[in-house]
């Protein structure tokens, strides 16, 4: 897009947008806070449910496009031997995501690359096409954030149809990036106005670059076999928390769940940290220990993915290091690799 289109709105833009979209019958996901204090994007029907100030949501956008468990097909055998197939797809309804952070929006690019690679994944693409992403630029990155180390920015606009600056305590400035973004602005009617000519975007928020992915890749290229993998994975318990909270991890397992005359084929999340992930039917496991599985996770994100798709499969959200049961610190491990 050549000329940048900017609009301005009140500090209360998020709530106004929720109300305008809900009134138009559009499905809206916006930041809410649970009883236990977690902030997450949830379906809302009124702006009263929405909070406007938060560092980031507990979960990334992944599950909205690649659900934890998704029915790919279902069948039911009738008494005459006839078979009815499903699921019957309903016409995709428009969905607007409000208030995700730039790192989480940027992660959609990695998912797009995978799910539109050699084959366009229909269930994924349908959900992607119907969705408008309105992100909120970060003015105060959290301690675990490192987007600037992996090619992102607290004010990055990648994969955001609209990027909003300010809000909550100050007037909002909206940067429109796509046709979907323009449609979103139209729906907000008179709660937004074009920004005066010459309006500039706020100065970028500073966030120190903590490692260089190129240097990390240089070491990974040479060190498939290294004691680093054993030493740095001793604490790893092999659960799926890091992968399941990761905006870019996308591995899945396909299972059939059937009873006598009906069944479903489901696509469920899976995780390379699990011992079962690569276990062969023969009993052989090419990744026999946690060191091999930990290596896989790092190698995939910082070597294999860039080789195949031109960028690392990490957006620097920091959820893995914040939520790890034993404090496995990806950032410290990458800095360690870089220093080698």
């Amino acid at each position: 897009m050549g000329e940048q289109k900017l609009y301005q709105a009140s500090a209360n833009w998020l709530k106004s947008a929720v109300d305008a979209l809900c009134a138009a019958g559009i499905e809206v996901l916006a930041p809410t806070q649970s009883e236990s204090g977690k902030v997450d994007l949830a379906r809302v029907t009124s702006s009263e449910q929405v909070i406007q100030s938060y560092p980031n949501t507990a979960f990334p956008l992944k599950r909205l496009f690649l659900p934890m468990s998704e029915v790919l097909l279902e069948y039911e055998k009738g008494e005459e031997g006839d078979v009815e197939l499903g699921p019957k797809s309903a016409p995709a309804k428009e969905l607007v995501i409000l208030g995700c952070r730039p790192c989480d929006a940027a992660a959609l690019e990695m998912l797009d690359k995978v799910f539109q690679w050699d084959y366009s994944d229909v269930p994924y693409q349908e959900k992607r096409d119907r969705t408008t992403v309105v992100s909120l630029a970060c003015s105060e990155p959290s301690p675990e954030c490192f987007c600037t180390s992996v090619g992102g920015s607290p004010q990055g606009s990648e994969q955001s149809d609209v990027l909003v600056f300010g809000g909550a305590n100050s007037a909002a400035l909206m940067q429109i990036n796509t046709a979907k973004g323009e449609k979103f602005i139209e729906r907000l009617a008179d709660t937004v106005t074009p920004a005066p000519e010459g309006t500039k975007l706020p100065e970028p928020t500073e966030l120190e670059q903590k490692f260089d992915p190129q240097k990390v890749k240089g070491w990974l290229d040479e060190n498939f076999e290294s004691n680093f993998w054993v030493e740095n994975s001793l604490g790893c318990l092999g659960c799926g928390t890091c992968s399941y909270l990761c905006p870019t991890c996308h591995c899945f397992d396909i299972v059939d769940e059937a009873s006598w005359n009906r069944g479903q084929r489901r696509r469920n999340w899976d995780c390379c940290s699990f011992a079962l992930f690569t276990l062969h039917a023969s009993g052989h496991n090419p990744r026999p220990d946690q060191a091999a599985r930990y290596r896989q996770r790092l190698m995939h994100k910082f070597k294999v993915f860039p080789e195949r798709f031109g960028r690392v499969a990490c957006v620097g959200c920091g959820r893995c290091l914040k939520n790890c049961a034993v404090g496995q610190n990806l950032l410290a491990d990458l800095a360690d690799i870089e220093s080698r």
Binding site: S36, M68, C239, Y244, E257, F274
Partner: protein, 287 residues
């Protein structure tokens, strides 16, 4: 000064001694990582590494989870820092013949409780002083008397609700489960080489994270830990979805306590209800 402020130095000395005398091949303890909100596991192989060891109010983890692991066992005899609550898990591992006493060197810490504010389990701790360890560090702590009714308060809160509310509550809670299995992986007593959830010929428990599968998984987990769980609370601490797993564990522990007068992990020699037969046992339901 925190309840555990002065232990670090004596702990380091104790660890340095067992490492330099080659009594152990590794000491598993807690260290500090500036990026983390709690003290994280460290694995020390040399005496000069002991400066990485700490003991403070943020040593939540139950390090006994590492004892059965092959990569740890091949380092030689394992030295391990244990709080009283962790020692209970070690006792169960000994009782169930998962580890041998001569393969571990227990460095007990007299722990005044962890967490800021202190975790609920610490306020009813009955093992501030971990008995039966090879080395014990820290000042003696007065052991408060804990009454039976104080032990199961979390379970009690949920039991007080009518049945239909309980069902509604657990449906809501278990719907959140994402099947990351952090609860299983962090549990010192979930040491099966292949969990039943991973047995797929046939698939005993559905792996899909729908309510049906999640209920099956969580009930399986609870039953397999009944009469064994020591209430260390690690599963609930690490659950990324904030499911109150501790209340489930407490309920099971309460049933076993009431029916069999048994509380798990207070001794490595104890006879556990599920591995002993007695004609005196009550036969109410399946427990």
């Amino acid at each position: 000064m925190s309840a555990n402020g002065t232990i670090t130095q004596t702990l380091r000395e104790a660890a340095a001694q067992v490492l330099s005398e080659e009594k152990v091949g590794v000491v598993i303890g807690y260290g500090r990582d500036d990026g983390q909100e709690f003290s994280t596991p460290v694995f020390l192989r040399k005496a000069e590494e002991v400066k990485r060891l700490v003991f403070d109010d943020l040593c939540f983890g139950n390090l006994a989870v590492y004892l059965p692991r092959p990569e740890i066992r091949k380092m030689g005899k394992t030295g391990i820092v244990v709080k009283g609550c962790d020692l209970r898990a070690v006792n169960v591992l000994l009782r169930e013949n998962v580890i041998k006493r001569e393969d571990v060197l227990l460095i007990g810490v007299r722990c005044g409780g962890v967490g800021q504010p202190q975790l609920p389990k610490c306020s009813v701790c009955e093992l501030h002083d971990p008995g039966g360890c090879d080395v014990v560090v820290g000042e003696a702590i007065e052991q408060q008397e804990v009454k039976a009714e104080q032990r199961y308060t979390e379970a009690g809160k949920i039991e007080a609700k009518p049945a239909e509310h309980r069902w509604e509550f657990w449906q809501k809670q278990l719907s959140k489960c994402i099947r990351c299995y952090a609860c299983r992986q962090v549990c010192p007593l979930c040491y099966c080489k292949r969990c039943i959830i991973e047995k797929s010929t046939p698939q005993w428990v559905q792996t899909s994270p729908h309510l049906r599968g999640n209920l099956a998984w969580n009930v399986t987990r609870a039953l397999h830990l009944t009469g064994r769980c020591v209430g260390c609370g690690e599963c609930e601490r690490v659950c990324p979805m904030d499911i109150p797993l501790g209340a489930i564990n407490q309920k099971m522990a309460k049933v076993v306590d009431e029916r069999f007068g048994f509380r798990s992990g207070f001794s490595a020699q104890e006879e556990a209800p599920f591995t002993t037969f007695s004609t005196e046992d009550s036969e109410e339901g399946i427990l």
